[in-house]
């Protein structure tokens, strides 16, 4: 399946790809493992995913053409 990737803050410094073609992954837990393998720096920091603008608190299915945002801790204000 194809997903669109959005990276923010310090994560955007090492995850610069905008698209991902992956097979055998169907949920956010699987995607996290995949991303942490591919980008080892990610496993060293706190981050959250948002799938189609929904912030993920627990594991969730990902469907083809989803937009997944990878977000480090917020620091607005």
């Amino acid at each position: 399946m194809e997903i669109e990737l959005l990276s923010f803050g310090k994560i955007a410094e090492f995850i610069t790809i905008k698209k991902l073609s992956i097979d055998g992954i169907s949920d956010t837990d699987g995607l996290k493992k995949y991303l942490e393998d591919k980008f080892p720096q990610l496993s060293e920091i706190k981050y959250k995913l948002a799938v189609d603008k929904q912030i993920i608190q627990k594991n969730r299915i990902i469907t083809d053409q989803a937009t997944v945002a990878i977000m480090p801790p917020f620091s607005g204000g």
Partner: protein, 147 residues
């Protein structure tokens, strides 16, 4: 009192004191208001390992931030009897000493405005996908962390 449409909160660069005074002045016709509470975030020239922060560059996941802010706004209007609430957050570069956040709440009596303002600031910092990149004078940077 809440707006159904999603309001923008983002402004490009620093928030000027004159923008703040114009916002205040606009409320003089709302004569049911007795108290305004305002919070302003200002960029600190922090020193870290001998280097000074000269500016913060803000980025956001704008769509999601505006949706989240809309949700917070609705919650706050349900919780407190407010006349008005206005929120502005800078994107892009804001120099040390400049204003990057402006939260402005108004109510007939002081308590709702004061409590709502504080709650909006806390929730905005915790829940909105916004990131500050602290730029040092020597060109290096580090990512801001909220406490």
């Amino acid at each position: 009192m809440s707006d159904k449409k999603i309001k923008n909160i983002f402004v490009n660069g620093a928030i000027s004191p004159s923008f703040i005074s114009e916002s205040i002045a606009k409320h003089s016709s709302k004569t049911e208001i007795g108290g305004h509470s305002i919070f302003l975030g200002q960029v600190r020239k922090d020193e870290i390992d001998g280097k000074s922060v000269s500016a913060i560059e803000y980025t956001a996941f704008e769509d999601l931030a505006l949706e989240k802010m809309h949700e917070i706004r609705e919650n706050i209007f349900e919780k407190y009897p407010l006349s008005c609430m206005h929120i502005y957050q800078s994107l892009g570069r804001v120099s040390a000493g400049e204003i990057c956040l402006f939260v402005f709440t108004s109510s007939a009596h002081r308590k709702p405005a004061i409590n709502a303002c504080e709650e909006v600031v806390e929730r905005l910092k915790a829940e909105l996908p916004i990131w500050g990149k602290e730029l040092f004078e020597d060109g290096s940077h580090q990512w801001k962390e909220n406490k």
